[in-house]
């Protein structure tokens, strides 16, 4: 069912009991529901309801946020955060970049820290952005080779070389 005021789906069905013209039901999308129920509204008798609904909206928002986090897949290996949570193992190194904000609370929980203070590889790869990019590119090159897209693989390989040759002081 579509919102009464726009093309979006109607996710709120508000039964107004005290309005002029007697009880009636409104079918509106989230945005229009918020507008209708906001304390700025000149409609009398909606503020208490607004309070309840706005806190419900907050809950719904975080549920939606969680749902969207669970769905966004890593572009390199395709794993979703939900899958990771089920099996307790990540899919590929790039996940640490892609799911960075979601992993942070977990790392703090496990280790009491989210920053490495220890041994580094001798061939350092420069700035964090460059490291991210290199992880992603290496995987893309592999895939291009597997799919026999050799021209693409060569392009990626050249880009990797360029990135590796630029020193960290950029």
């Amino acid at each position: 069912m579509k919102c009464q005021h726009c093309e979006k789906p109607a996710t709120f069905h508000i039964t107004e009991l005290t309005g002029p013209g007697g009880p009636h039901v409104l079918h509106v999308c989230e945005d229009h529901a918020r507008q209708y129920l906001s304390p700025d509204s000149t409609q009398p008798g909606t503020s208490a309801l607004a309070g309840v609904l706005s806190s419900q909206q907050k809950v719904e928002q975080s549920a939606e946020q969680i749902a969207s986090t669970d769905q966004k897949a890593c572009p390199v290996c395709g794993i979703t955060f939900a899958e990771f949570r089920n099996i307790g193992r990540l899919g590929c190194p790039y996940d640490y970049v892609h799911f960075q904000t979601d992993l942070e609370p977990l790392l703090i929980n496990i280790h009491g820290s989210r920053e490495h203070h220890g041994k580094k590889p001798s061939k350092l790869l420069g700035s964090p952005d460059r490291q991210h990019r290199l992880l992603q590119l290496r995987r893309e090159m592999k895939e291009a080779v597997e799919k026999e897209l050799y021209e693409r693989a060569t392009e990626i390989r050249d880009e990797i070389r360029r990135l590796e040759q630029n020193e960290a002081g950029e």
Binding site: V76, C77, I79, I87, G88, R89, L90, G91, C92, P93, Y96, V97, L103, L106, L107, I110, H111, G112, S113, R114, E115, H116, H117, G118, K119, K120, P121, S122, K123, L124, L125, S127, P128, Q131, H132, L134, L135, R138, R139, M141, K142, E146
Partner: protein, 351 residues
């Protein structure tokens, strides 16, 4: 095949030398590493795993100083051979039971091994006899450097070395020490001791690693976190706890010797007697009695036996070792008979 040669030998770390060797059996350093251009093992295709195995083999074989290191392809090995490697602590149970292309590089004197395609692409493992974490760590770091020259490890400046499980990210380091604590068990203090350890970021496990039962009073103590501290700091966390454990065990042993020497001597002698004369014996029983005998040797109650012999017996009486030494597959009953025979032979000349 080289594995058969290993069977008769006694690995470096079993020799029972090394600091505090009466209570500390071994010190172990494990480093987890992954190659940057592949998914983590669980999400790898068969082709990926093969490529990783090939890259690891090439890297290992290119290291000039590693002439004595053998690269073993684990996938085609028989159940017996894989079990053999697990008993010898050269591979984990997980690698043995995993599927697909996987392998291990083993040093000739068994001072280190590098597993390929276990939970992470590479797991470097260094073992030392007794309490010797610093030198084990130095060796592990060197192995890491050598491999890293020929491979590119997945690493981010902020998070360190990237691993399949976030519980290993950062240093990828697991430090563990294996201890023999029979007196703490006899005096029923072991539970209390473990509870106090839990507050110190230290985990405790049985003889063969994660998820195993505590057999023979052998316990493994290791760090729990891997991120946010340097490797040296993580080593120190474990090093701090071990001397306290050693002290508790020594006190408990002294207590037993002072207050119930006869009971202890009797207990130890009976264990020794059974091992010398039984005609069939299970590995659980063997572990139980060898643990007592080991303590007896340490306390001077059994004078004609040395620790290296006891350590060797602990390994050689394990199921796969027995069969390898005998040269044939044995069912449980036959193994129990074989085990008793082996013990009798190696303990008999002491009288």
């Amino acid at each position: 095949m080289k594995l058969d040669e290993l069977a008769g030998k006694c690995g470096e770390w079993l020799k029972g030398t090394g600091p505090e060797a009466d209570i500390v059996i071994s010190s172990r350093i494990r480093l987890a590493r992954n190659l940057s251009e592949f998914p983590f093992v669980r999400r790898c295709t068969e082709g990926d795993k093969r490529s990783i195995l090939r890259a690891a083999r090439q890297a290992v074989e290119a290291i000039d100083e590693w002439k004595d290191v053998e690269f073993v392809d684990v996938e085609p090995l028989s159940d017996l051979d894989r079990q053999f490697l697990v008993e010898r602590q050269l591979i984990s149970r997980e690698l043995s039971e995993a599927e697909g292309p996987r392998g291990v590089a083993v040093d000739g004197t068994e001072r280190f091994s590098v597993m390929v395609n276990e939970e992470d692409h590479l797991r470097i493992q260094v073992i030392r006899s007794g309490l010797d974490l610093k030198s084990a760590w130095q060796d592990a770091a060197e192995i890491d450097d050598r491999l890293e020259r020929r491979l590119t490890f997945a690493y981010l400046e902020k998070l360190g070395y990237l691993t399949a499980c976030p519980t290993n990210v950062g240093t990828g380091l697991r430090v563990s020490v294996m201890l023999h604590l029979p007196a703490l068990v006899i005096t029923r203090q072991i539970e209390k001791v473990f509870r106090s350890l839990q507050k110190m970021n230290v985990a405790v496990r049985g003889l063969f690693g994660e998820g195993s039962q505590f057999t023979g009073d052998f316990y493994q103590v290791s760090n729990q976190i891997t991120l946010g501290r340097s490797e040296e700091a993580l080593l120190q966390q474990v090093e701090y706890v071990v001397p306290q454990l050693i002290e508790y065990e020594r006190k408990a042993r002294n207590f037993l010797m002072t207050n119930s020497e006869h009971d202890l001597h009797d207990d130890v002698s009976r264990a020794y007697g059974i091992l010398q004369t039984a005609k069939k014996i299970s590995s659980d029983e063997t572990m139980l009695y060898l643990s007592k005998v080991r303590m007896g040797v340490n306390l001077g109650l059994i004078r004609e036996l040395e620790i290296p012999v006891v350590n060797k017996l602990l390994i050689h009486t394990q199921p796969a070792h027995l069969q390898k030494l005998r040269g044939k597959i044995l069912n449980t009953t036959d193994r129990n008979i074989e085990r008793a025979g082996y013990l009798q032979k190696h303990l008999a000349k002491r009288n």
